[in-house]
């Protein structure tokens, strides 16, 4: 405990911690919609696209990687969503294709053009997140905090619309709600979250941040508002626990957060089945 207090005396550790918490909150909020809309795989695909974009950005030696990663990922999200609703092209195969292609190109670029002497380390930290949140750059922290705040605000303002479009897109469209625009909004938010989460847990593990809290909440609660709120709170708790353990015992932060989410999921699953048994009798 005193070690933890010591670490938290550094303002930078505090900022990193807050950023991590904000990102996990955002991803859990949108995760519920993603899982219910059967879009989980899009999140996975996007994370690989973000990896590819990051590789391009680092090859180009940009001062700020976000300038490339964010637009590319948002564009991919819009593209995937459009093909997903088009029955002519197999959306599934398309996502798989984009995913692996981005991964391959990303790794290739990093290998061929990298100035760094430690390519394996670079790739590894992009895929699985920084070894510790303490290595996040200050710019990363500020951008993440601002974008997270925007995502949360947009989500709250459009909460009712997101619910309606998620529950029944045809009804929404038929009664004059611009479902297409809201789908687009959801896609953009997801892309932003994926990019943000990459810093924290890496591009391979970001899906976990999106999916686990949502599934956990859905196994315990039966109404959308409760599921959304609980999912956000649970994600916050799990990633805080993960980050604290990571700081104290110097294990990789991304993996630790995902493990914490997994444990949370198992607990919720058990709690859900107990709850069902009780109410069934």
């Amino acid at each position: 405990m005193s070690a933890l207090q010591y670490y938290f005396t550094f303002p930078f550790v505090r900022y990193a911690f807050i950023t991590g918490a904000l990102i996990s909150l955002c991803s859990a909020l949108l995760g519920v919609t993603l899982v219910l809309k059967r879009f989980s795989y899009i999140g996975d695909g996007l994370s690989h696209v973000a990896f590819g974009a990051l590789a391009i950005a680092s090859v180009m030696n940009l001062s700020d990687n976000m300038l490339i990663i964010l637009p590319v990922t948002v564009a991919a999200a819009v593209l995937l969503l459009k093909t997903g609703s088009n029955s002519k092209i197999n959306g599934d195969a398309m996502i798989a294709m984009i995913s692996v292609a981005s991964l391959a190109i990303g790794y290739l670029l990093m290998n061929v053009f990298s100035m760094s002497s430690n390519i394996t380390g670079d790739v590894c930290s992009t895929l699985f997140g920084s070894a510790s949140i303490l290595t996040l750059s200050k710019a990363d922290v500020i951008i993440s905090a601002v974008l997270s705040a925007v995502v949360i605000l947009v989500f709250v303002l459009f909460y009712n619309k997101i619910f309606t479009v998620t529950f029944d897109e045809n009804f929404a469209r038929a009664t004059g709600i611009k479902a297409g625009s809201y789908n687009l909004l959801i896609a953009v938010l997801i892309a932003v979250i994926i990019v943000l989460g990459m810093n924290l847990v890496g591009s391979l593990l970001i899906s976990a941040l999106v999916i686990f809290p949502a599934l956990s909440a859905m196994s315990v609660f039966n109404n959308f508002k409760k599921v959304t709120v609980f999912s956000a709170v649970l994600s916050l708790v799990c990633s805080s626990v993960g980050m604290i353990i990571s700081i104290l015992s110097s294990v990789p932060v991304g993996s630790m957060i995902v493990v914490a989410d997994l444990v949370g999921f198992i607990i919720c699953l058990a709690a859900g089945s107990i709850k069902n048994k009780l109410s069934g009798e």
Binding site: L157, Y159, K161, F167, D168, F171, R173
Partner: protein, 225 residues
């Protein structure tokens, strides 16, 4: 006249499912759309709702009917089967089409929602989860949602499919009551006897289209029933 369809030709890509279809409805009509599976009933409804474009022809709403004054009861989707939402949340979402950019529901929306739930007799299920309801209760929830979205016109896509006889009768009774209050109803159904019992106009789509009043339908096809 509240709705007029002129020379509609409907279909997907190059495949035509309905051609040369014209009909019109007055305010307060109760239209049943009948036809074989695959004859294009749902396609027609989706086109009237603006979810699909007709290949040719025109759909005209009049009497000042706006897009956000139509209520729709679609067939259930896979997504909804295990969707964690309370009855109240689902019904409330019917109010959304009048909100524009306003982010939250108002007191009058809540009242409208409560009234809609009362009309279809699900007020006591308000806090229940949609995924734990019986088929009949789910359909009544969706009917209440459609009611929140409209006071003028309801489009129902096979509202009694998969229901037991009792729930089926309740649904027909509720729909009929709403029609009596002046709401125009367009319903797709497999059930010819219900169509003839409740509606005043019949549209039969297939090889040959028929549109007319119930009496005209009976006169033309009466021998076959």
């Amino acid at each position: 006249m509240i709705l007029e369809c002129k020379n509609l030709k409907l279909g997907y890509e190059s495949k035509t499912v309905i051609s040369d279809l014209s009909f019109s409805l007055e305010k307060g009509d109760y239209l049943s759309i009948i036809g074989e599976n695959g004859s294009g009933k749902s396609t027609l409804m989706k086109t009237v709702l603006g979810l699909m474009k007709p290949m040719s022809g025109e759909i005209i709403f009049s009497d000042g009917l706006k897009k956000n004054e139509i209520g729709y009861l679609p067939q259930q989707t896979v997504v909804q089967k295990d969707f964690p939402a309370s009855v109240e949340e689902v019904v409330m979402s019917g109010c959304l089409n009048k909100k524009g950019f306003h982010p939250f529901y108002s007191k009058s929306d809540r009242e409208k929602c409560a009234y809609a739930m009362k009309s279809v007799g699900i007020s006591d299920l308000r806090k229940k989860s949609y995924r734990q309801l019986s088929g009949g209760q789910q359909q009544r929830t969706l009917l209440a949602r459609a009611l929140c979205a409209t006071g003028k016109m309801l489009l129902l896509d096979e509202p009694v499919t998969g229901l037991d006889t009792e729930s089926e009768n309740v649904m027909y009774y509720l729909i009929n009551a709403l029609n009596k209050q002046g709401i125009t109803v367009i319903m797709i159904t497999h059930d010819l006897s219900a169509a003839l019992k409740y509606s005043n106009k019949i549209l039969s789509v297939g090889e040959e289209n028929f549109f007319g009043t119930k009496e005209e339908y009976l006169e033309k096809f009466g021998g076959e029933i």
